[in-house]
Assembly symmetry: C2
Homo-oligomer: 259 residues x 2
């Protein structure tokens, strides 16, 4: 039997502005995509408030449960940026000025521009390693299995370039997608049958409505490509046998909004 | 002293497709906004996989912690729609055919269209009350302090019309917004000072970069409007005193994407 290597991750989105609805989070979808490409399975994401105790508890729960933990948000220079100090609290290590981070900020802002507020961004849990920020310089933090990233999407995305050097993925989840122009309930039995035969393949059914078109997209996912293609073959065969048409890939309007 | 009535909520987004990055969740932002308008504070949102045990544990944790719990996703007719049965498991009640839901589906699909797959959508925890779905009819579920909503954004949003009749909000969080065209680190001290004086007001600082413009938006939030406006006055005064310009509201490009 072919055993697959599975690597997991959790994510914490930190910020009152997401929970109040002011800001639409863009980091979860980007990180989810990126992790899938790295062969890492994102198992859970939590959006929490700017509250120190909540950050500490959530970090400790998720860093124990998954191979990697990613946080976004709360590492800027103002009073509401409390992620770094609470990562230190969660780990039980001192919160100290990081000499390398100090040098990066001094280099960027110049000795005169290194205000007290900006120096807050050099404060990190003891033992932290920097994550390079090619956009606005103030670095992210890597400590243990935790990666502390910025909340601003363009900065967070740029930090992943450096993160990719510090992580090791497992076997990738491979996926196959087909769609039909008929309601998903017509295919519920077929999907259940294929699902029962191939337990290493997960099958998702996602209905769509778009202008005049409606139907469902079926996504099959597995680390085992052979099983995946067998499951796909069985499903397509059953769909056609039942007298329906079956199309490869996502529907053409997939990239346009459905809400 | 004026005591404010605070009503809280948690949210669970259920779906492998969000965690794999295939689908970009749109329900969190919409619900967050809507809850704020109802005077309900969304304290936490979790995105979890289509996994029965995870659903049960998460539902039981969050329904105990918050006044209301909302779930989205996983209530359709196919094998991967497992939310309803796991809500029943979480509550320890039988999972049964709901006569009212049966009537709604029979009325919609006609007696001949009521296939086994579609009948799954009439299965609910015993004692459930329906949430009206004016779009595609298959109802949501209200039981205890839990509201089980569809995952498709247009359906989920339409269900909120009925949900609004079944909930009671508290005192609304009121917000005031200003912005400056200078990096937030220049204002870190001022923000901290205002924050220290008005502990019932939360102050968020959100940097923006947009084409040639950069700066920061400051959002003040409180249930206490008098304190809110005093805090706003103090902050604006300090900003101007320090020689900066201060503008009301969000920057004009706020509604355009910043990533």
């Amino acid at each position: 039997m072919n055993r697959n290597k599975t690597v997991t991750a959790g994510m914490i989105v930190i910020g009152d502005e997401i929970l109040s609805g002011r800001t639409r989070d863009a980091n979860l979808n980007h990180l989810a995509h990126w992790l899938t490409e790295q062969g890492i399975q994102l198992r859970e994401a939590r959006v929490i408030a700017d509250d120190g105790d909540v950050i500490v508890d959530t970090v400790n729960e998720l860093r124990a449960r998954y191979d990697y933990l990613f946080t976004t948000g709360g590492i800027g220079p103002t009073h509401d940026d409390i992620t770094s100090e609470n990562i230190a609290r969660a780990l039980g290590v001192p919160f100290v000025q990081n000499p390398e981070a100090y040098d990066v900020l001094k280099d960027h802002y110049g000795p005169d521009g290194l205000t007290e507020a900006r120096l807050r961004m050099a404060m990190m849990p003891e033992g932290a390693e920097l994550i390079d920020n090619p956009i606005s310089r103030a670095p992210g933090i890597h400590i243990g299995n935790i990666f502390v990233l910025a909340g601003i999407p363009v900065v967070m995305q740029a930090m992943l370039l450096d993160v990719s050097k510090k992580i090791e993925g497992g076997d990738k989840m491979i996926s196959r997608t087909i769609h039909v122009f008929r309601g998903e309930s017509f295919f519920a039995d077929l999907l259940g049958q294929v699902n029962d035969v191939f337990e290493e393949v997960s099958i998702g059914s996602y209905p769509f409505y778009y202008e005049q078109a409606y139907g469902a997209t079926f996504v099959l996912r597995s680390q085992d490509e052979v099983a995946l293609d067998e499951a796909l073959g069985m499903l397509k065969h059953k769909i056609v046998d039942d007298g329906y048409e079956c199309h490869d890939g996502e529907p053409a309007f997939k990239s346009r909004p459905v809400d």
